[in-house]
Structure formats: structure tokens, C-alpha cells
Symmetry: C3
Subunit: 111 residues, 3 copies
Amino acid sequence: MPQLTIRGIPAERIREVSQPMLEELAAICECGTDNFMIDCMETTSVFAGQRVDTYPFIEISWFERGTETRDRFAFALTKHIHAIGIEEVELAFKIYSEDAYYINGKRFNLL
Amino acid sequence: MPQLTIRGIPAERIREVSQPMLEELAAICECGTDNFMIDCMETTSVFAGQRVDTYPFIEISWFERGTETRDRFAFALTKHIHAIGIEEVELAFKIYSEDAYYINGKRFNLL
Amino acid sequence: MPQLTIRGIPAERIREVSQPMLEELAAICECGTDNFMIDCMETTSVFAGQRVDTYPFIEISWFERGTETRDRFAFALTKHIHAIGIEEVELAFKIYSEDAYYINGKRFNLL
């Protein structure tokens, strides 16, 4: 955590930008880069009777960090995605609860 | 948004029904069809020691629209899925918050 | 439901352990094993400029069952994952609402 689950952007493009992107996002979160997971999903998208390119979308799963941090995170992440030539991207933050997250069987809020 | 994330139904089947389905769902949401994303996920499912077909399941990610709209949306979506010969399908609605959703770096509730 | 959405663990490994795992999890939930879905997702992960193995992660989507059941569920699930040689795994529980879940178009809390 945080976990970036990506659709509609090739993993190869994300790989290119991943190092500076993670460094900036980790600084915003005040955690190490090794807390992050970046997973690109295989999807097939359809629209109006056609197969279409999947719209670039990133779901960020994390513990709530407040509006200011979220705004900065979203701005930085979007900047790096734009920098690899993806002109439009939407982000949604999904909140995991610390009492419903387990690392090797141990509840996070008890660690 | 709304975003339909589908597992257990081939994209090709969804493609066939996508145009009338989107028109009906967009009318229920009072938005344009181009607000929708339909993404079919690659999954491998297992049950009781066997590989099995993935159970047809659709997660709808959207902003909360209330029970009446949700009921109508679920009924219409299910009808279209049944019409392509998928006899059983389950739907779950996942709520994104307008203050935690970003389009090109800009927070949705400020757009 | 419950629905286990898995990334970073091959479906073949999950298949091997699925029968005893489901029996134990179903006993904890006091439901039948046939209520469960186990879906392994295709992902490509990156980190720090490299393609990397996806970190083992399971999202459990269910209706809220309280802390004690969740702790037991997490402990049992983790035990089975460790038993197939996956040394590290993280779990997150995602709550679906009974009034936003539909089976064949019928709202769950009305069934």
C-alpha cells in the first residue's frame, strides 16, 4: 500500500516512468517506495457495439490520508501519466480500513 | 463513470448488446452514453480443486444515485445480460466519492 | 459472496488448496462453500523501472461480518496461502452493502 491498479495504459509505459513517479509519490505519502504496488490489469473494453481501447484509469487503494495529501498525490500521478503521452486519465481513490487489512494474517491496526 | 467491470462474461457477448444497453442505462442515469466505461477482466477461477468457469459478475463503480435509480439500473442491466443468454448474474455497486475522484488531476467536486 | 479476488498467486497453486481452504472459510462464515467465488486476475506489475512479480494480494469482497469473524477468516486464509509456499501475502476486506447488491436483478436485502 498504496496500491495502484491500472487499466488502459500499457505496463511498458508505466515501467518507463515508474522510478521517478514512485519517488515523488512516496515523498508525498512520507513512506518508502517499497510500500507501493503497481499492477496493470488485462482488460478488453467495448463501447457502442465496438471493441475499443480501454480508457486510462487508475484506482488507488490506500488508507485515508486526507484531502491535501490526496490532491497532491493525484496531481503528481497525473503529471507523470501525462508525461508518457497519455493525454487523458481518471483516478479514483478507494479507502481500505486499517482494521480490515491484514499482513501475513495480522491485523494492520494491531501491528 | 459509471464504470462496469465485468468478469465471467465474454467481451464479445457484451459487445453485441452494448449499444441498446448503454442507451437504456444512460437514460436512467440522465447522462450521456460516453460517460460509461465497460471493461471485461481476464480471470481464471477455481472451485473445490477444479478450474471452473468464472461466475458472471459485474461491479458497477459510480457516484451514489440513491435506491430508486440503483434498482432501475440493476434491473435494466440484468435484463440485457439475461437477453444474451447469461442466465445468472450478480451485481454489486461500489461507491466512489466525488471528492476522491480526479479527472486529469482536477478533483471532481471542484470541476 | 464472499468473493476472493487474487493477484500475484498462480491459479494452479490456489486450485490445489481450494477444497480444504473453502471448507474452513465456509465454516467460519456459517455458509455453504458454493457461496464463494475465487477469481485470479491477470496482472503485469512494475517497480522502479523493472517488470517484477506481482506481490501476493487477496481482496475479499463480502458483507460486513464483524471483527472476530474477519480476524478468523484472515488467519485461516493466510494459513492456507502460506501452506502452498507463498511466504508473504496481504489481505484487504472490501464491504459490499446488502442494499446495493443484486442477484438476477433482485436487491439482496429484499430476497
